[in-house]
Symmetry: C2
């Protein structure tokens, strides 16, 4: 860092403000969490709005120009710091909506009443994403209240449809790309590598999610009277799905690997250097063997190689005991995880062609294209990435590892498409935070470290 | 038939009795049907007993020695005609229990209140099996009341666990084989070939019903975070099931066809001669193509060749929209239809060996053996078969066709094993009688023709 960075000279005042504010920040986060802003359930529409208003008011109190923007669904909150000439602009993305949660799902405590236990905050939204995005609001507040204003330009975009994959955000990006112009986007909605090992995620897999419906006879038949003479849609479905992989664990669809960007040597070295205990991993999963595409390691397979997984199968009788039905219908949900430079629409087309080729005689089928996102990797040698790594080093006491994650964050693709910038994925969570599951949690220490890292990042980024 | 058959000389008296009794026989059948003797539902245990008592009392009124034999489950009714020296003994098997039925399942009328419509009697149990087995009780009654006694020895065995596959009947056969000694068994629990085309079924397929449970990781995982590195039990299940057939539609399990008795030339000729319109059949099923084992016709495939059908698949997410779960478990129910001389236990073993060979790495599995029955064909050139064919010719006005059916009637195997005799399958039903479904029906004319055929059969069989 340059010794002449004016922002860094104000760092100790900001740091003191953050230290003094810790208790209040956590109380405020708890209040945000208590709003059950479940985007999937219309009964909670008042709550999603209340969460949006909470975020807008918080930004306003810190001195931002904040507003609620209506969409066809849940509103988007936009906040802007006072303009600073000659400094880069950062777009901070987050989402105030949460997954559904009921205590009866298996929660130890009420999901919307945050509870502190063993250094963690337990509640729906604790890590996904209220606890994580709120770190940036508190970091900005510290600069506004104690540092003489933010040293860079910050635009907050906190939306309410991340958990329902709504199309409204894309529409918003398409319409407002000019107003959202920035140099970097920042998202904290992912995980560290492990406790004590912070990470910056530079790659995400994309997704092509499809549903395959197979129709045999128009009604269920008795397998004794008809079996052997009429194609069985369950057998046919299995034939189609089995044909999607070859014996080497590779996806056996023509052209599937054509656009796959190969892993660079430095990436494979980085993967190999990550602290990872394969036998402990097997133990946690409860499996005797790990399998996947031949020629790649477990970490490469689960984060940097494309895959095909079936998510659901159904058809016929699944109750107790035997029933000799030859069913009319069968179905499967499946997806392909994609890596750069695979295009999800192209993969969906290749799947269609493949099914047309392998579908057994005597059944018909329909393919539903659910949604998709391309795989992304971001540049790792930019000033923004360097600033983020230094900030995390300061706040977490350890240089972050660079990782690629196997999941998808579709907004990263939208930002790339519409704003033409890379996203810095600064995840403060842990892999066992139970997101989308009962007993979701977030480390309280990581919450405060995340705030400090965000505040430091703004300073490191200032010229 | 020999002109000296004493029984046939009494035929006209029996025939008159049958004609005069038609209305009463139908009323009595309706009373039997009104007892909701659903064996699967313990709430109906009083009803199954009432049905057994109804049958016992009916037999007693006709002059049989009838009794209720307790089992660990629903009781068995045994009735015996007065002994006739030097004449063969016929065991008539039937079952008084019925499948569950609720009007809400889609019935046009109350399932246990029989309704006459278009010449049919609509009710649960109308054809399966109350209406069919009751024909033999009324035929016997006619001989007892108007013919001077039955011309042959008849043992009635009417049980109450056919619809639940109870093990109590097998135990009964094992213990009482001596008391049940007979020359032929007769069962009316199947169908004619078509309206106006009566049939004698001389072959049934057997069954080997299995359930395959596949376990991957011990809990559901996120497919983004783990997909590609951890075996997916749904994909694995599809691989296993797809491996069960080859490209010719043959079962691809080693040794599966080893014991299969080939179709005789006369059987293939009989199949080819049956009135069967393949395009009408496709139309009814709503399929564009009929498929199956290469080298066999549709009728051969569905009734005289062994098969493998999946009856149910489950695992993962099947609700609306996408969910990117990599599930812990998957399962399938499947069965093999067997033909003589396949042994269901041997087929189950071959399946186990096959799965052990093809199961993908990274998952474990369990196989549950539900139940089974060997395939059977009965001798077609016996005096009993000749008597049955002549009797049907007289009562239905047309010589019956000889057919093999694709379904299984496990009691035929029990009778062969324990009593060492063949069963004559004299079905009075039609293929569209909706057995096990709403709006079950039985042709009233066929009910009376069945009674007449049974009565004539006893005469034809007498020496």
């Amino acid at each position: 860092m340059p010794a002449t960075n004016a922002a860094l000279e104000k760092w100790s005042a900001v740091e003191s403000y953050l230290k003094a504010g810790e208790g209040r920040f956590l109380d405020e986060l708890k209040n945000l969490i208590r709003i059950p802003s479940v985007s999937a359930q219309p009964a909670h529409n008042d709550d999603t709005r209340e969460a949006a208003e909470f975020v807008r008011d918080d930004l306003t109190r810190s001195g931002m120009k904040a507003e609620i923007v209506e969409t066809a669904g849940h509103p988007i909150v936009i906040g802007r710091s006072p303009h600073v000439d000659g400094q880069p602009t950062v777009l901070v993305y987050g989402h105030y909506d949460v997954q559904p949660a009921e205590k009866a799902d298996g929660w130890a405590t009420e999901p919307f009443e945050p509870v502190e236990k063993n250094g963690n905050l337990y509640a729906r939204g604790a890590t996904d994403d209220k606890g994580q995005f709120y770190t940036h609001l508190k970091a900005a507040e510290a600069w506004m209240k104690a540092g003489g204003g933010l040293p860079v330009n910050v635009v907050f975009l906190i939306e309410g449809e991340e958990e329902v994959g709504g199309a409204n955000l894309e529409k918003f990006f398409a319409e407002k790309a000019g107003e959202l112009a920035c140099d970097y986007a920042v998202i904290s909605d992912s995980s560290q590598w492990a406790p004590g090992v912070p990470a910056v995620t530079y790659g995400l897999r994309g997704l092509c999610y499809l549903e395959l419906l197979v129709q045999g006879p128009k009604t269920d038949l008795h397998s004794g009277m008809f079996g052997g003479a009429v194609a069985n849609p369950l057998n046919a479905l299995c034939k189609i799905i089995a044909s999607l992989h070859d014996d080497k664990g590779r996806v056996a669809i023509e052209g599937f690997y054509d656009d796959v960007a190969p892993l660079a040597d430095w990436e494979r070295a980085e993967f190999a250097a990550l602290p990872f205990d394969e036998s402990a991993f097997r133990e946690v999963l409860g499996v005797k063997e790990l399998t996947g595409e031949a020629g790649f390691t477990t970490l490469e397979r689960k984060s940097a190689r494309p895959t095909c997984d079936v998510h659901g199968l159904w058809g016929g009788y699944s109750g107790p005991g035997p029933k000799t039905v030859l069913p009319a219908k069968a179905g499967a949900k499946l997806s392909f995880r994609l890596v750069p430079n695979q295009d999800n629409r192209k993969v969906a087309d290749a799947f269609r062609k493949h099914v047309a080729k392998v579908c057994p005689l005597g059944v018909t089928y329909e393919i539903i294209d659910h949604h998709g996102a391309p795989g992304v990797v971001v540049e790792t040698d930019t000033p923004g990435m360097a600033a983020a790594r230094r900030a995390i080093d300061v706040a977490f006491g350890r240089e972050p590892v660079l990782v690629r994650e196997g999941g998808s964050i579709p907004v990263v693709g939208l930002i790339k498409d519409h704003l033409k910038v890379d996203t810095l994925l600064l995840g403060w969570g842990q892999n066992d935070d139970n997101l989308h599951a009962p007993d979701e949690k977030f480390s309280i220490a990581d919450f405060h470290r995340g705030i400090a890292a965000s505040a430091r990042f703004f300073a490191e980024l200032a010229r």
